[in-house]
Symmetry: C2
Subunit: 321 residues, 2 copies
């Protein structure tokens, strides 16, 4: 790309997202300068979306901008951290002003909704790849981790997992004729990172992870980090109306193994469950108890007929029958 | 890539770089938790290297790992900030253990030399693209910026600019039969970010930028950010022995317009120049006075014959005669 094209891109990124007093120096110098709140630790995560791997070629630019930030906000949500600043590394085959405008709109709308400022970026020429680094903060002693779950803890998930995977299948034409298809597509194209829930869960949860690779795969990661296992009751899975139209078996398969939900999977010690449900009503906060942490390692899913075998390898080798 | 390949990669990245007490939680959860020193601000920058754009296809993996971190360390050096933590987003066509081992060795050696810890990463499948986010800290009032230069300030550059561009030309077979070719290649493959110099310059410099796009192009960015211009004396350019073997004209062209040097270009008010030179001897710190900041905008280069015309557009439209 010629210099003038980079200048164009700079204009898109120079004032993107919220305005924050703690940004001492934003986009435009060799590095951004940011004031961290005293007494808190910095929370930092990075995630990449590659065209053709993480989203179908030709996906709406607004969705790509939204998702690139959303998947990173979801990482901070899983730590109970409050997001503040983002850096964007955008590799583009060409500088198309219409595409960039829509991409930036998708990114900026979500950034503003979470009071996040874009403080740095790098634009390079190459196959479409979007990497966002998200920075936020949290009181060090309060941060949620994957490693805190203990046998007996209740297992929860937010939202209605499986919708995004069904939405992707619809986008790719692998699924057809579904009632409420647009709702499912939107769950893939514009996922909602559970930032506020993550922050509130610091007072209740023993362990937390975000669901990006699928509920079983991510629950397994949480279980392994905590040195235990989990049992999931398939009958308790929260299934959305549109997902249910696929039939119970397929809906549950999507909910258990579909990725891209960016919901939170978390554990709460039994003695705190009543207080959680009283102070953060599930109808309002949108979470569901789906199982229990077990001493035995691995993930087991039980349905009306009994136990389903789930390999400890998780998603890759998921056995559904 | 299958899960097991990602596991392999995780092993490479889990203990990479220095060990730091301020890393409260490193690679392995949804986000890293990092303790910022009180009274300092966070400095954050991101840079991407794309195969075939920023390095030739088939470049040594150790060099790619080194450069991905070096270009980011150089951004912090230009702010006078001290690096601390890095996040790595690596997009790979395949998980080749030999390649990954060499890449990680190159990254880790430089990270350890600068007491930097890798605290987060994401590995994805796609065309080879490496994005590093570097985080460090600096006293807010001390940070170097591009915008502080004023007319009359002396203009300096570190190292011997042009070597890396000549080294790249050698790597690509565009240049042949040069004495000391390996020294030039090494300046491209393994650039030295001037972190210690940047930190020390906080006490002297009025403005600073790192030289990544070429001396004229980057001096122009510094000048523009400061609302002034610069005059460069071609006769003062520090040229390495191997670069000189190309002849004076070509050597100067490389020094003025070649990229990838990752040296520092900085300005110092005249009244501080004597103290700079006394306290940071140039023979030891490797910098050279090459010109002066002017009130007139743009970059002008003068040689023995008089003025060369340099367009205010910089590198892209550089006119050498």
């Amino acid at each position: 790309m010629a210099l003038s094209e980079f200048d164009l891109i700079d204009r898109f990124f120079r004032h993107c997202g919220a305005s924050r007093a703690d940004v001492r120096l934003g986009v435009g110098d060799d590095a951004a300068l940011l004031a961290c709140p005293p007494g808190e630790v910095l929370a930092a995560a990075v995630d990449t979306l590659v065209e053709g791997v993480h989203f179908p070629p030709g996906s709406p630019a607004e969705s790509i901008g939204h998702r690139a930030l959303a998947v990173n906000l979801s990482d901070l949500a899983a730590m109970g951290a409050r997001p503040a600043w983002a850096l964007l590394a955008l590799t583009l085959p060409s500088a198309d002003a219409t595409w960039l405008s829509a991409f930036t709109a998708g990114f900026a709308a979500l950034a503003e909704a979470h009071a996040v400022t874009l403080v740095g970026g790098d634009t390079t020429h190459g196959p479409l790849t979007v990497t966002v680094t998200i920075l936020g903060h949290v009181a060090a002693t309060d941060a949620l981790r994957r490693s805190g779950a203990a046998p007996g803890d209740a297992l929860f998930v937010s939202g209605t997992p499986g919708d995004a995977a069904a939405g992707l299948a619809l986008e790719q034409g692998r699924l057809q004729g579904v009632e409420g298809a647009q709702q499912l597509r939107d769950r893939f194209l514009f996922p909602t990172p559970r930032v506020a829930l993550g922050e509130r869960l610091r007072a209740y949860a023993s362990g937390c992870i975000d669901v990006s690779d699928g509920l079983v795969a991510d629950a397994l990661k949480l279980a392994r980090a905590s040195g235990c296992g989990v049992e999931i009751a398939a009958t308790a899975l929260p299934l959305s109306g549109p997902l249910r139209t696929l039939g119970l078996k397929r809906a549950r398969d999507f909910a258990l193994t579909g990725g891209d939900d960016y919901e939170l999977c978390f554990t709460v010690p039994l003695e705190r469950v009543a207080r959680l449900q009283a102070e953060l009503p599930c109808e309002q906060w949108g979470y569901t108890r789906i199982g229990t942490v077990s001493a035995e390692s691995g993930v087991r899913v039980r349905d009306e007929e009994g136990a389903l075998t789930v390999s400890s390898e998780g998603y890759d080798h998921f056995v559904s029958g």
